[in-house]
Symmetry: C2
Subunit: 187 residues, 2 copies
DNA sequence: GTCTATAGCTGGATAGAC
DNA sequence: GTCTATCCAGCTATAGAC
């Protein structure tokens, strides 16, 4: 008796390997082997490797925001939630041994002609930017700011993305901790 | 009579293909073909594909900073130079059709065990951070800032990196233009 | 330096039997 | 759903002749 369906196991194994080894460097054969499913079964659920990639990104986005919500659930103050974003990143980067942002990795790796993948990566980034924007709107900004609300959201978003990239390259969470300090002085 | 040496042509072609198609997706065969050199000749100059990657990153770093210096040469004011960094990025991203940061791409693409490549990528990032820091030190900061000099350099660095990543994913220079505006309000 | 041939492997994908 | 066999293309790299 299988604990999980074939589809679930394929996607779970593929997700782990895509993130750890990269999409291009992960072969169908390895996925089949580690997921312990049949070759035909994989192609039954996912007609091509690209379809597997699509499912991977979409599931990753769903989980990413679900985990983020959960992580911030105990915090009530929007400002604390905004700063908590960086703690969330630190926690995830430590857990993945500084593997970097899943979505940015795909964006950097897939060929330019895979517009579908780019679209999905872009979707996650935009959604996260909106996430930041909404938290900012919930804050009562004490004083007139140097930056507009929109630009402030942009700034936090970019600092977050930049810090994640640097943390992955330097294999250290220092950049994200610095980013949090910068965010503290901005909001 | 060859206009350029075999080594130069190999590296030029490989550089173009690595950036446009990705390192993993570019085969030795294609490099040989487009560079119009013999198979044995490539392996004579570069014993393995990894050696070619090393030379690629190193040459790219040298050129990157040389082009940056040239781009900023006409500007005398350090603040204008700092803001010019973003114009430099915009210009490069437009020229490459939003291919993203060459070094970050490699960082996202190569397997984790290629420590050499990571080291080289990290080197470029650190050098650029120092570049920003030195420009900041040349500025006479008018008022006491909310952020220390070091943190300000960090912030500019991360915004720069984040904006580049977003520009590549969104295929638009809007993020970098926003980043410049943010930088203007910070310094 | 050039050329060709080829080893040895792995890639994604298909087909057929059960 | 499972299994195995296989196609064909591509990969990195080596060897040998010129």
């Amino acid at each position: 008796m299988k604990e999980s369906s074939a589809r679930t196991r394929i996607l779970d194994v593929a997700s782990r390997l895509f993130y750890e080894q990269g999409y291009n460097s992960t072969g169908i054969n390895q996925i089949i082997e580690e997921a312990e499913i049949a070759r035909g079964s994989l192609y039954n659920h996912f007609p091509s490797k690209r379809d597997l990639l699509t499912a991977y990104i979409q599931q990753a986005e769903d989980r990413w925001f679900a985990e983020l919500d959960k992580f911030l659930a105990t915090l009530k103050d929007p400002r604390q939630k905004l700063l908590g974003l960086f703690d969330f990143r630190i926690e995830r980067q430590l857990r993945s041994n500084f593997g970097g942002c899943l979505f940015s990795k795909i964006g950097a790796e897939v060929p330019k002609d895979d517009l579908n993948a780019f679209e999905l990566v872009y979707h996650q980034k935009e959604r996260f930017k909106i996430y930041i924007t909404e938290l900012l709107q919930q804050m009562k900004l004490s004083e007139p700011q140097a930056l507009s609300q929109e630009m402030l959201a942009n700034a936090l978003f970019m600092i977050f993305e930049g810090a994640t990239a640097i943390a992955s390259i330097s294999k250290s969470d220092q950049a994200i901790r610095d980013a949090k300090k910068i965010a503290e002085s901005l909001i």
